[in-house]
Symmetry: C2
C-alpha cells in the first residue's frame, strides 16, 4: 500500500516546501489539478526538479485532446497522469497509448462514473483505477471516500482511493485491497503536517504487519 500526497490550492513554492517536509513519509507526490490550471506545466517541471527520484503524478483530469495533454505532462517529468473515466473511451485509449510511449502510467479517475459503467472501462487494461469522492461533494454534501461503494475491480488493475481520507480510514482501505491511498488536506492542512504524514505511514505499516 502506497501513500500519494495530493497538493492543491498552493503556490508552487509552497507546495514544494510542504512536500519536502514530508517526503520521507509519502511514496508518490501529486501535482494537483489546481496547480496545473493555475501555473501550467511549470508546476510539473518544478516538482520533477525538486524531487528527481520520486514518482510524480500529474492530476491532468484529461477529458479530451489526450495525446497533446499526455505529451505535455510526461515531457514535463510526470510518471503518472490522470484521465477522467467519464470521458469518451477514445480519450482513455489515447492516454494509455501515449503513456506507453513515454514509459509512463495512467490512472483512470472514476469520479461520477456509475459502477454499472465500470465494465466498459475494464476494456482498457494496464491502467490504475481511482475511486474518488470529489472536493465539491465533500464540502457540499459531507461525503467522503470512506462511504464509497468500491465495486469489484478487474484482476490486475491497481486501485487508488481519494476524497477526505483520514488516518482512521487506512485499515478499511487496506482490508478492501486498495493499493494507493491519496491524501490531501489531512496532511497539508494539519497543524503539524510532518506528524500527520508520520501517522499515516505508521497506520499503513501496522496494517502491513497485520496482513
Amino acid at each position: 500500500m502506497k501513500i500519494q500526497l495530493a497538493l492543491d490550492r498552493f503556490r508552487i513554492d509552497e507546495a514544494i516546501a510542504l512536500a519536502s517536509s514530508v517526503e520521507d513519509y509519502v511514496d508518490w507526490i501529486e501535482v494537483g489539478t489546481s496547480l496545473i490550471k493555475e501555473f501550467g506545466m511549470e508546476s510539473v517541471r518544478a516538482f520533477r526538479k525538486a524531487f528527481p527520484t520520486k514518482t510524480i503524478l500529474a492530476d491532468m483530469k484529461t477529458f479530451d485532446n489526450a495525446a497533446y495533454e499526455m505529451k505535455l505532462c510526461f515531457e514535463a517529468g510526470a510518471n503518472v497522469a490522470t484521465v477522467m473515466g467519464a470521458a469518451p473511451f477514445a480519450t482513455l485509449e489515447m492516454c494509455k497509448r501515449v503513456a506507453d510511449e513515454y514509459g509512463g502510467h495512467i490512472m483512470v479517475d472514476l469520479l461520477n462514473v456509475p459502477p454499472e459503467q465500470y465494465h466498459q472501462l475494464a476494456r482498457l487494461t494496464g491502467v490504475k483505477w481511482c475511486y474518488h469522492v470529489s472536493k465539491d461533494e465533500q464540502e457540499g454534501q459531507g461525503k467522503s471516500a470512506t462511504t464509497l461503494n468500491i465495486a469489484d475491480c478487474p484482476m490486475g488493475i491497481q486501485t487508488a482511493v481519494a476524497g477526505g481520507i483520514t488516518v482512521e480510514s487506512i485499515p478499511q482501505f487496506k482490508r478492501r485491497g486498495i493499493d494507493i491511498v491519496i491524501v490531501g488536506s489531512a496532511i497539508t492542512k494539519a497543524d503539524n503536517p510532518i506528524e500527520a504524514a508520520r501517522q499515516f505511514q505508521s497506520a499503513m505499516d501496522n496494517e502491513k504487519t497485520m496482513s
Copy 2:
C-alpha cells in the same frame, strides 16, 4: 448567432497573433484547455490584456474544486468558463454560484453526457449548454458536430456547438437554433485564417438575412 474562436495547441503569443488577425470576424475568443494546462492562468491574463473589450471564454473543463477554479479564471479576466456536464451536480452548482459573484457566465460542456441525463442538468438554470464532439472522437472515429443528436434544450438556455465545424455546417446549426458556433481548426489551421474567418462570418450573415 455568434462565432467563438477556439485556440488550442499553440504558444500564447502564437494564439494571440492568430486571434488578432481574425478579431473582426469573431465574437468570442476561447482560451483552450491545452493553453490553460500548458501555461496556466497566464494564458487567460494575456488574452484579457490583448483583447480588453472582447468576450473571453476560459475552457477550464472543471470537474471538481469548482470555487477555486472559477475564481482563478474570472480573476484572470475570463467572462465565461466551462464546466463538464459529466461532473457531479454540486460542482456545476458551485461554478454557477461563483460566476454570479463575478458577473461571469457558465457554459456546461455536454461532452459524453447521454441525452437521457440532460433533464438532470436542466435543473441548473441561467447557464449555456455546449453540444460537443471531442477532438479525440473526431480524430479517432471521424465524428463531428454535424452528426450530433442535438436534443431539445430547456427554454432560456443558450446553446453552443463544438467539434469539427465547417462553413458548410453553419446553415444547419442556424436552422436548429444554435446560438454560438465554436470553431477551431477550420480557422486556425486554414491556409488563410483571415479568409476562413471571413467566410464563417459571411455564412452567418447570410443566414441572419434569410431568417
